[in-house]
């Protein structure tokens, strides 16, 4: 018998999980979806963001400041990665995959080396961070709603940024046709560097944002590195609204399966991705 309370909490969990996946994948939508760079390390950056954020939180005890610090480190890391690793292999997808796979393993090892046991996000007095709300017999953490709102806001911002502002238009032009965009006076090299950097920084920021809910463990990057890839694949490569729907789909599938058929576990998300890849390789939400 499925009770309404169960359905309610399943729906809220589904929305939260979708939002988390979207946070993990949003950087990849730019890097992989628009720039065509196979960045397997995106999930590792996501996990690194969580670790860094919790560390900063212990040091400063200030939520926004820690977020800002994590984002800044993300920018530095993204810049370094782009300059050292990605720049030599633009347009060579196999080398990109091989390199970022190495980077992913390197980051996993690094995280386990520095933080061997994982980090627990502490209980705080802040209502938004650690408070609970009673909703028809279900106790739900407030931060879940915060995450859902952040996910929607981020979607809105990203859509506007990519479709309405000059930066987004230039970026899309540059990925459509590099030479032509250069002819029209777009500084492609600069643009790609900043886009990649922004994507990596977004991944770290996403990791930081989910850390109060999931804590920082090594499962986080391992789990999300493939999920993050599932989003642009399922949603369709060049489609930033597709990514949003795809994360809703995968998030709900995962949570509903976890609630009602718990034996399947994490594999179901990957099975969705595999099925979509085989049946409709161009993605189901293609524009």
């Amino acid at each position: 018998m499925v009770s309404p309370e169960l359905i309610l909490s399943a729906i809220i969990d589904g929305l939260t999980y979708s939002s988390m996946i979207y946070l993990a994948a949003i950087g990849l939508v730019i890097i992989f979806g628009l720039m065509d760079v196979f960045n397997l390390a995106q999930g590792a950056f996501f996990g690194l963001g969580a670790y860094l954020f919790v560390t900063f939180y212990y040091m400063t005890n200030n939520f926004l400041l820690s977020l800002l610090l994590t984002f800044l480190i993300g920018i530095v890391l993204g810049l370094l990665t782009e300059r050292a690793i990605i720049r030599p292999v633009y347009g060579n997808p196999l080398a990109q995959l091989l390199l970022t796979m190495g980077l992913m393993t390197l980051l996993y090892t690094f995280m386990q080396l520095i933080w061997p046991t994982g980090l627990v996000f502490p209980e705080t007095q802040n209502f938004l961070l650690s408070g609970y709300i009673q909703l028809a017999d279900v106790r739900i953490r407030i931060y879940k709603f915060v995450l859902i709102v952040i996910g929607f806001v981020l979607f809105g911002t990203m859509s506007t940024l990519l479709s309405k502002t000059m930066i987004g238009i230039k970026l899309r032009a540059g990925t459509e046709n590099r030479e032509l965009a250069t002819v029209f006076g777009v500084d492609i090299s600069m643009l790609f560097t900043s886009a990649f950097t922004f994507g990596v920084a977004l991944a770290l920021l996403g990791g930081a944002l989910v850390a109060p809910l999931t804590h920082a463990t090594i499962e986080l990057p391992v789990h999300f590195s493939l999920l993050a890839f599932a989003i642009p694949v399922v949603g369709g490569m060049k489609s930033y609204s597709g990514a949003f729907y795809a994360s809703l789909l995968i998030g709900f599938v995962d949570r509903l399966v976890a609630y009602f058929i718990p034996q399947l576990g994490f594999a179901i998300d990957l099975i969705v991705m595999i099925v979509v890849l085989v049946v409709k390789p161009e993605g189901i939400f293609k524009r």
Partner: protein, 409 residues
């Protein structure tokens, strides 16, 4: 006879020499005999990975799957009491079939999306096994009875003698065929030094095995025999499986089938227009690669007696990738060299780590990760700086270096 020799034996002095030295290593330092077989397993895995990525040009990131399947099948068969060498064959065939099954989606999913797909498949398998069992699924194999037999020791000694003699003969021939005088002197000097080393190791091997056999004759307890013979037999099995697989892979790739693989790698459209069935050939490549990955998985069971779901983890794929790329994709010997090098480095770095403990700010568990960190860095540097790998770069640019060295003398 000449044909057989071409198939079975290396053509050059260097090949014989390296085989002899590899056979001698576990006797000179007994602690190495337990560590190196695993290195050979990684080298074999890298060799099998090279068939898919290097020769057939299919980016598969799920190479841990055939490896893990074979490891589990072998472990389960051994539990049933099947002899090791017999369980190797079904394990290899099953993992080949599994890899073909993984290759089937490649009909629709092309290029690098296929790579991501295989990564997802291997992760899904690992997650399912770990999740459905809730606890760790582990198959523990007790000592494999064949590995404790004395026949293995006799075979070992015979093989060592043969390769020692062969490297002696080819070394002589190499010196004789050298024309330039200075080069000849230099070569003679190096060869003599090498032979002094080999003679010493031969002395160590035969004297220690003679005393051991004498003790066995006078009634040595079984445990002592086991401790002496077991690591040597595991070493022999892993080295022989690596060597034989290398020969077979070389034979396959130099055959018309292998040339077709390379043609498909270079230009799939053209190959299909000429009339080759591209997809079928890719599946064959998957099968061959899966079989050898399966052999690697079986030998892995002999090295590490407890098999856990982590044999399906991505880091196994990554080890194969590191070996293949470090050595050179699309070369014959390269992946073996790369795999052995990576394994040696890992071993060597983990011997350094106890020294770092005394610095006092890292725990043992953290330090075990240290070698992978350095290897990961090395891997990235090699992909960026030497896109053809060590051996591939040597094949491309080595002659310049050779000429430079020759001009000095």
């Amino acid at each position: 006879m000449e044909k057989l020799r071409n198939y079975l034996l290396p053509n050059r002095f260097l090949g014989y020499l390296s085989l002899t030295i590899l056979l001698a290593i576990p006797w000179l330092d007994r602690s190495l005999a337990t560590g190196i077989p695993l290195t050979f397993v990684w080298a074999l895995l890298a060799l099998s990975y090279n068939i898919v990525l290097g020769f057939a040009g299919i980016p598969s990131f799920g190479h841990a799957v055939p490896f893990g399947v074979a490891a589990f099948v072998t472990a389960m068969l051994l539990k049933q009491g099947v002899p090791f060498l017999l369980s190797l064959i079904p394990a290899a065939l099953i993992s080949g079939a599994v890899y073909v099954g993984m290759g089937l989606p490649g009909y629709r999913v092309r290029g690098l999306y296929y790579g991501i797909l295989t990564l997802a498949i291997s992760e899904a398998i690992r997650a399912t096994i770990e999740y459905s069992a809730q606890t760790t699924v582990a198959v523990t194999v007790s000592t494999i009875p064949e590995m404790a037999s004395l026949e293995g020791l006799y075979l070992y000694l015979a093989l060592f003698t043969i390769f020692l003699a062969l490297s002696l003969v080819t070394g002589m021939m190499d010196i004789i065929s050298t024309k330039r005088k200075r080069q000849k002197v230099l070569k003679t000097l190096i060869v003599i030094l090498l032979f002094i080393f080999l003679a010493y190791s031969g002395y160590v091997i035969f004297s220690s095995s003679a005393t051991f056999l004498q003790e066995v004759g006078s009634g040595l307890p079984y445990v002592r025999i086991l401790r002496f013979v077991y690591p040597l037999n595991v070493y022999l099995v892993s080295l022989l499986s690596l060597y034989i697989s290398y020969l077979l892979i070389k034979r396959i790739i130099t055959s018309p089938l292998g040339s077709t693989f390379i043609a498909i790698r270079e230009n799939p459209v053209r190959a299909s227009v000429i009339g080759y069935n591209v997809f079928l050939h890719q599946l064959i490549a998957f099968f061959i690669s899966g079989v050898f990955a399966g052999v690697a998985g079986s030998v892995y069971v002999a090295c590490i007696p407890t098999i856990q779901p982590d044999v399906f983890a991505t880091d196994k794929t990554f080890i194969a990738m590191t070996g293949a790329i470090l050595g050179g994709l699309g070369t014959f010997v390269g992946p073996a060299i790369g795999g052995i090098l990576a394994g040696f480095l890992r071993d060597y770095l983990s011997t350094i780590t106890p020294a770092l403990i005394s610095l006092g700010f890292l725990s043992l568990q953290q330090l075990q990760l240290f070698p992978s960190l350095i290897l990961g860095l090395l891997y990235i540097i090699v992909v960026l700086a030497l896109p053809y790998g060590i051996y591939g770069t040597w094949l491309l640019k080595g002659w310049k270096l050779k000429r430079k060295i020759e001009s000095i003398f």
